[in-house]
Symmetry: C2
Subunit: 436 residues, 2 copies
Amino acid sequence: MKDLESLSASQAARALSRREIKATDLLLACLDRIGQRERVVRAWVSLGKENALARAKELDRGSIKGLAHGLPIGVKDLFDTYDLPTSYGSPIYANHHPFADAVSVALLRQAGGIILGKTVTTEFASFKSGATSNPHNTSHTPGGSSSGSAAAVADFMIPLATGSQTAGSIIRPASFCGIVGYKPSFGKISPVGVKSLSTSLDTLGCFGRTVGDVALAAAVMSGDLELANIKDLHNKPRIAVCRTANWSLVQKETSAALSLCGFAANKIAKGALIDTTLPKFFDGLALAQSRIMSSEMSRNLIFERIRFPKKLSPQITAQLSEGAAISYESYSKDKAYAREARALIEELFTNEFDLIIAPSAIGEAPASKSNTGDPVFCRGWTLLGLPCINLNITSGPNRMPVGVQLIAGPGQDHFLLSAARTIALGLTDPVARDQA
Amino acid sequence: MKDLESLSASQAARALSRREIKATDLLLACLDRIGQRERVVRAWVSLGKENALARAKELDRGSIKGLAHGLPIGVKDLFDTYDLPTSYGSPIYANHHPFADAVSVALLRQAGGIILGKTVTTEFASFKSGATSNPHNTSHTPGGSSSGSAAAVADFMIPLATGSQTAGSIIRPASFCGIVGYKPSFGKISPVGVKSLSTSLDTLGCFGRTVGDVALAAAVMSGDLELANIKDLHNKPRIAVCRTANWSLVQKETSAALSLCGFAANKIAKGALIDTTLPKFFDGLALAQSRIMSSEMSRNLIFERIRFPKKLSPQITAQLSEGAAISYESYSKDKAYAREARALIEELFTNEFDLIIAPSAIGEAPASKSNTGDPVFCRGWTLLGLPCINLNITSGPNRMPVGVQLIAGPGQDHFLLSAARTIALGLTDPVARDQA
């Protein structure tokens, strides 16, 4: 058997449930890897080694608790944990100890997951970056806001981590770090106990190294345990490639990744791949998402704005001021537009396609530690509430990973995971195929 | 001028903004009233007298902060407050001090509101009652879950209080206590910082003694400040009386209240009042709401279930077990049914009516302190996410108040408040007319 820290979450879960490996050994392997790499990657805000080891021993002795039995898990430091401090990436919460776990964290523990530590988030999951590096090249950003979660999973420090996306905070770092990132349908995972930016956009999800990994984590976090049993595709899906209204921004490597994924998808598509340009009506999605987010943030962070203005970064202060300047009327118009767009995309999914393939990001991870990259290719899909998954496809001019995202219709999470696994199997790059 | 504690929130706000009365005097009048009545009403979990007095003095000296300038406000103890303990009606949180205010509380403070104290909630806003009595007859329940908020406003202890509704926790206690209770459209007020039962149902709102009061509070809590400027009705609305699928449960006094409200509504209706029976399809609403609520509660309270099972009441333990026993598949079916029902009711509001009049509760407040009454007449409207307002209409055989609720189409909060005020003006009972 290869080094334990290299096992995917699904491989490890299977071996653990059969008692072929010990939770303690897997945890120690992860801790070793963290010991070797954390100095340069800086994925973690805190580690709870003792608690984690005690829990691992308990799990090795006791019965199998559930799907996540014995898996070491990184939790984005936006999620409350009762036994580890939770700072939301902000000095305001430097010494904050929540009373309770976030619901998704408690569900992971109940299923036998071991919460190993808290991973770096940008400030309140917005744009001010933390200290984390991209493990593929430490002068590049891992993306944000789920920076530490994506970097830790990509660097084999842990097999699974939690994330959240309000604009592009799961799909973008997954693409930049070359792993699988999954943002389920809006509302699929209870957001309770996770610091909120924008109530109508915040969506919880997870990172893993295979489609099966994220399916497993999302199954536990949502309570929809069937999600972990990825089904074979019964019918060939209608698959559309969508360059989106922001295509002019795209770099060559993303264009290439889209093509390569298209080849794999074409093998399983009903008929030939559809080249779709969404109706003009959708062109305003990214802008509307950005305004709704800023407007809701200006209210959701009102306590911090009033009581700790000096402890907010200039970046987020500017974003909050912008948000506060948006009139309620204009906010309502954006919300009404989003509702219409959701109805329209549902129709398109019914009538024209079952799956969309689209860019995850503009290109490779920017060669910067302070710029987490542009979420423009994620904003619209988040606003539409659709389930999205990033697959790692190729690499760019700096040998950094480049992914694409697959997007399914509203609530079609089971289908999305099936399609993602099948498409990954059709990729020609053997590393990319390993995601299946 | 009459006793300050008898002023409605809108009257007080006007007088405060013109410096005709002092925030300090209003607060002292409220504290006096609380001093006289709290021993029997038991509306409060905690009072922050010193902080409130300091804040009132500050507001009397400084500029006018906003719409709630100088108004003493009761906050349901389900809402986090940074300066008052917050126990969610549960011994698990007996010594819990949140770091931050709930967003809606911070917005009330920013607008000049004085958070006077925390009002009694049932356990986690579910069915296990607190100590509060109905101020009209202390052997009767005030209703729940927003028991203390409704009782305190009805008893003139405060002009305004916050509430939340997952099944019938605003409309029902408002009806039982004879005041105005307003549950805005789902999502209108940010739920952040309020302990969540059921993410897809929890809706924040407020209590006052007039339509203008709840409009003022909801304007501040939502950020939609225009909500406070209740407009005259431009066109005569199409008004439907809806007995709902649960009409057989109704007591005589509720039937009478519906008729009386119907008379007032008929005066302003376009054409004659419509007697609507909703399509059969809607008959399952109350049951679906109940199942969705229990299922989501079983996840949202997972931390408490696992770590503090003995500190949960038998009532909520039973409800959580029921919820946990619901399969995800069956939960998904209920959610899909709710989505369909929302689309269908929107069509009905477009094609057939603008406003619905329906029972708020089965009848008067039950003559019991432990039974907060049945929310069956609220469940469906909450599941549909529609804005609802309770008007006090008449009294029952025990001389307890009886209200009815007005319900508008999705997002039609401005219209609902206009219609409610106009209908209140048309009521013949002078006390009921005072709600306008």
